[in-house]
């Protein structure tokens, strides 16, 4: 063992097929566990839906204004370094504007009359559907 530490080059030479298999299996395990358990509340993307289609998905870490032509007219959505909101909407009640800034994954603002929705996505979905 001491010899191996002193001459690292011989380390590879000492490894047998079984060792490689163990190495491979453990790397796959790490990969699988990472995929399964790595989740994070932090939003990474903004998804805009128009009618029954996904209109576009943007990174949330940017400064940007997006104009979307909805059923009633043009809505403006603002993305500002980690948060997003409806800035302008042609709908009458302006419920979507009143939702304010969305900051965490899973948060959503929906404009039913104009048929546009805004949802922040993270690494994983916090729930499958929403009761409102």
């Amino acid at each position: 063992m001491l010899k191996l530490l002193r001459y690292p080059k011989s380390l590879l030479a000492e490894l047998r097929i079984g060792d490689w298999l163990i190495l491979l299996v453990s790397l796959l395990c790490v990969f699988y566990l990472f995929r399964t358990f790595w989740s994070n509340e932090q939003a990474t993307k903004v998804q805009i839906r128009l009618g029954d289609k996904i209109y576009a998905t943007y990174s949330i870490n940017q400064q940007r204004e997006i104009h979307v032509h909805g059923k009633l007219g043009d809505a403006v959505i603002t993305i500002n370094q980690g948060k997003a909101r409806f800035a302008k909407s042609p709908c009458r009640n302006q419920y979507c504007i009143h939702q304010g800034w969305l900051t965490r994954a899973g948060q959503a603002a929906i404009c039913l009359p104009n048929q546009i929705s805004l949802e922040l996505l993270g690494e994983s979905k916090t729930y499958d559907s929403l009761s409102y």
Partner: protein, 357 residues
């Protein structure tokens, strides 16, 4: 040199398996979201091919659209005719001359009447005239002039579901003040129809959400379907909960259809006793165990709890056999039944929760 080659090969193998695993991990989950007449319909289907899932979801949407056309309380159909419900309402207003209705509508009215009686009249789809007076039979809601005299007259006319008489395929009302508005029933009914249809098509796993009322079939892979409950004052879920096979959940809130007048909120949920919107509640969520009309109950059962005085909420829930419910009152205090308290996962920060005995 040979070792280097082996090492490279093993690394390549690892990368390939990683890609393979990733493809394997991609879920067989289909998700669609559509707007049908101002309501959001959200359908998830697990374990079917995308093509078949899309076909099934479209069929559910079409059925909902048909139902909506027939049961709409105030909109005429495409060729400017009254909806089936509109024609019935017109006949009720004329007097007690019977008109023909479909078997479907007869069943709906019989069922809604039973539920209305069970709720002691707090769930009352016969108060369409009151709802119209408050301006909620429109697509957009703006403040109305509150006409106390008119409201009083409409309340004393006492329109009840039991005023409707159904004989075979004929119906009439013994009270001219009855005007049907199935706004608190139709979405739940559509949910049950959708669930029945998907089960007939041998779909094992699906989650259907029609305007916030959700029913679960099977589960999401190896875990139950997981749903969020809307926070009434923030653009986020207040809590999440597992929805096992056959269970349904529904929420009634004062934040979807309302207007503000002099700093006060007037929502679309009207107390039939006073004729005024309930103002002491922000939201009520009910969880309904598997039963033939779980969808209807998820829609109907939350309304009486929303309207009823705080001390009578548990009684209102019991009238429909509901054990699991959550109430958020006008001061944002959250009350949960002891049954549901064990199932909820809180998401929103600083939620003040009181568990009911």
């Amino acid at each position: 040199m040979r070792k280097v080659v082996t090492f490279t090969l093993v690394t390549l193998l690892f990368i390939l398996s990683a890609f393979g695993l990733q493809t394997y991990l991609r879920e067989p989950l289909y998700h669609s979201q559509s707007y049908v007449f101002g309501t959001l319909v959200d359908i998830s289907i697990y374990g079917e091919s995308d093509d078949r899932a899309a076909q099934l979801a479209n069929r559910v949407l079409q059925d909902f659209q048909d139902l909506h056309n027939r049961l709409h309380a105030w909109k005429p159909t495409a060729n400017n005719q009254l909806s089936e419900l509109g024609q019935l309402n017109a006949a009720f207003e004329q007097g007690n001359k019977p008109i023909k209705i479909s078997t479907d509508l007869a069943n709906i009215l019989t069922d809604a009447t039973q539920l209305s009686v069970k709720s002691g009249g707090l769930f009352n789809p016969a108060i369409g005239h009151l709802i119209a007076t408050w301006g909620f039979q429109r697509d957009e809601f703006s403040a109305v002039n509150i006409d106390d005299v008119k409201i009083q007259t409409l309340v004393s006319a006492n329109p009840r579901m039991t005023d409707i008489v159904i004989k075979g395929d004929m119906a009439y009302s013994t009270n001219k003040a009855v005007k049907l508005d199935l706004g608190g029933y139709a979405k739940g009914y559509a949910l049950d129809k959708a669930a029945t249809y998907l089960r007939q098509q041998h779909v094992k796993n699906a989650l259907i959400n029609i305007g916030g009322n959700i029913i679960a079939l099977g589960q999401h892979g190896d875990k139950p379907w997981h749903v969020g409950i809307q926070h009434p004052r923030m653009p986020t879920a207040i809590a999440t909960i597992d929805l096992p096979d056959g269970w349904a959940i529904g929420t009634s809130g004062d934040y979807q259809r309302y207007f503000m007048l002099n700093g006060k909120r007037y929502c679309h949920i009207i107390d039939p006793r006073s004729g005024y919107p309930a103002q002491h509640t922000q939201a009520v969520t009910v969880l309904v165990p598997p039963q033939p009309h779980a969808g209807v109950l998820s829609d109907v059962a939350s309304k009486p709890i929303f309207i009823e005085a705080p001390e009578n909420r548990s009684k209102a829930a019991q009238a429909f056999g509901i054990q699991d419910f959550m109430v958020i009152d006008h001061q944002s205090t959250v009350f949960v039944s002891s049954a549901i308290s064990k199932k909820l996962h809180w998401v929103a920060p600083n939620v003040k929760v009181i568990t009911l005995p």
